[in-house]
């Protein structure tokens, strides 16, 4: 598609003009860098208990830049570890959702007719219940293992993606190049994956970017309730739960992970909105 490269270049230009999106991108990059490299900058590991300094507010002198929690663990390092884990899970979950959703939607859009109706009816039924409940059931099934948590979360998020992709796929099916491919004898798999999917990428990218913060929120939500990530592993969710329990006497334990979480979610939302505006065909 010779037009496709021009599309991305245009979009990139428009994105660059969106100040909120650019600022968010930079901030996010900074946070990711911190999350990856930050803990090594501090001399404290995430689960070491510092008996001498339990429940201490931020104290640069001792190297506990964000303070410690009730058990004496350094908050700076724990928060960054939490960010790492939450982001990792969210990214993996988004990947799972993407894979299932795009495949489901593309197949339904390509097939049309009865198969499409059936597949979409399934989506509609699952839509009737807020996804969180299914996720909770799944976490019970997977016994709250962190490795499979992302699968449980991702297994639910694909619904919206499937709907969107199916809609796009349906309208694409009428386009000339698809008809040409089919006429040339291309099998369904080839048409779907070599022709349909590449043209859906724009929408998919936007939705994926907007899905990541949702995944982070779902994971944090579950971890907060104790159904997600368990101690001693740190995720932003269970860190906020810890903080909430101690907030009367030690508010910093709540503020660090909460602030980190909110910032990450905000950044992703601005970037996603920016991408959507940049790729919006109406702008052209």
């Amino acid at each position: 598609m010779s037009g496709a490269r021009g599309l991305w270049r245009d979009a990139l230009r428009r994105l660059r003009r969106n100040r909120a999106a650019v600022a968010s991108l930079l901030l996010l990059a900074l946070l990711v860098l911190l999350a990856v490299a930050g803990p090594s900058a501090s001399r404290y590991p995430p689960d070491e208990l510092d008996w001498a300094m339990m429940g201490v507010p931020p104290d640069p002198a001792s190297g506990h830049w964000l303070g410690t929690d009730r058990l004496g663990r350094d908050l700076f390092v724990r928060t960054l570890h939490g960010a790492r884990l939450s982001l990792a899970i969210a990214l993996l979950a988004t990947l799972v959702s993407l894979t299932i959703g795009v495949t489901w939607g593309a197949v339904a859009g390509y097939a049309g007719g009865r198969l499409d109706a059936l597949m979409m009816r399934f989506v509609d039924v699952l839509y009737a219940l807020p996804s969180i409940f299914f996720v909770i059931i799944l976490t019970v099934v997977f016994d709250r293992s962190p490795a499979l948590l992302f699968f449980a979360i991702g297994a639910i998020g694909w619904l919206t993606m499937a709907r969107v992709v199916r809609g796009q796929a349906m309208s694409l099916m009428h386009r000339d190049f698809i008809e040409a491919a089919v006429a040339a004898g291309a099998g369904p798999a080839r048409v779907i994956f070599r022709h349909l999917v590449p043209n859906l990428l724009g929408t998919v990218v936007v939705y994926a970017t907007l899905m990541i913060p949702q995944m982070i929120l779902i994971e944090s939500f579950l971890s907060f309730l104790g159904i997600g990530i368990q101690e001693p592993l740190a995720s932003l969710g269970n860190l906020v739960a810890d903080g909430a329990a101690e907030m009367e006497t030690a508010p910093w334990i709540l503020l660090a992970p909460a602030g980190c979480l909110v910032t990450i979610v905000f950044c992703f939302n601005f970037i996603g909105d920016g991408l959507r505006d940049a790729l919006d065909p109406r702008e052209r």
């Binding site: 039924v125 009737a128 939500f221 979610v265």
Partner: protein, 310 residues
């Protein structure tokens, strides 16, 4: 209209059936059972327990018994709260959650709609920017961050409201949980209302009414508003989903004895029947609510009413 409602209700049954089946299958697929957590049980006792609860039967038999029980209104025993059946737990938790959820939705509409209208009417001026900024905050900050913070600020520092407990009828107890729960929905409704109102004010029929010399107040409230409400009404479905989800957190944080808290307990304890029972109640509720939304649509827009189209 009545026929419409009945057909929709009938159509909802298969959906519910699928959800029940799915939930059942998922819980049964879990490796291990509800008794694994206990201190190591001697195998005979474990076997007896499992037999007593019917867990040794093949899956389809179990499902058959469960479904039959459901039709009788029996959700089965709770595996952890040994003295209670799930039905009893639902009966205690439902009124609390219902009250919380209903109040939160009411608050969301009563605050969100006027806020959105006000923002639209003062387009791009101070009030508009203020409302929109607050809306962004309300939407992006998750409930489980707002709830502890709100409890901290209003409950502990300012001491305006109590922080935990729930005695029915005590209004002050309900303030914090309800407002915290409603916040994201208020924000979203305000934003939705503002956008919809702005668009409706520009639509041809509003301009035509204006050209007929209809005064501004009547233009806004009688012509524009009902037409602009449609997206907000559509949103009520997802809004309820958000409120249901948020209630899990709010009930846990503020210690309210509602369905949400039982669900969380059930999940933590691998109490299948409890989890399933709660999920089914929530699902039923959602389906009923979506039906209600469709009926409200027909009410607002005469074009949608069955038999109304030419």
């Amino acid at each position: 209209m009545l026929r419409y409602i009945l057909t929709r209700l009938l159509g909802a049954i298969p959906t519910l059936a699928v959800i029940v089946l799915l939930a059942f299958l998922l819980t049964r697929l879990a490796p291990g059972g509800p008794f694994d957590e206990e201190q190591a049980l001697p195998p005979e006792i474990r076997a007896n327990l499992e037999r007593a609860y019917g867990l040794d039967q093949p899956l389809h038999v179990q499902f058959g018994r469960y479904a039959a029980g459901l039709l009788r209104g029996d959700f089965g025993p709770s595996f952890k709260f040994k003295d209670f059946s799930v039905t009893e737990l639902i009966a205690t938790g439902l009124p609390v959650s219902l009250q919380l959820g209903a109040l939160a939705m009411l608050l969301a509409v009563l605050l969100g709609v006027p806020a959105g209208v006000a923002a639209a009417l003062s387009h791009n001026r101070a009030a508009d920017h203020l409302v929109m900024a607050l809306a962004v905050l309300g939407i992006a900050v998750p409930v489980f961050v707002v709830a502890p913070l709100a409890a901290l600020v209003f409950g502990i520092y300012l001491q305006w409201v109590p922080v935990a407990g729930w005695s029915p009828g005590n209004a002050r107890d309900m303030v914090l949980p309800t407002v915290t729960l409603a916040l994201p929905v208020i924000a979203y409704v305000a934003r939705l209302m503002r956008g919809s109102m702005l668009e409706t004010l520009r639509s041809p029929f509003v301009r035509a009414a204006r050209a007929r010399g209809v005064p501004r107040t009547r233009l806004v409230w009688r012509h524009a508003l009902p037409a602009a409400l449609t997206p907000v009404v559509s949103y009520l479905g997802p809004a309820t989903a958000a409120v249901l989800t948020g209630s899990l957190v709010v009930e846990t944080i503020f210690g309210l004895p509602g369905l949400g808290r039982y669900l969380v307990q059930g999940a933590l304890n691998r109490d299948y029947t409890l989890v399933m029972g709660m999920v089914i109640v929530y699902a039923t509720f959602m389906i009923l609510l979506n039906l209600l939304v469709d009926v409200a649509y027909a009410f607002l827009d005469p074009r949608v009413r069955p038999g109304g189209r030419r």
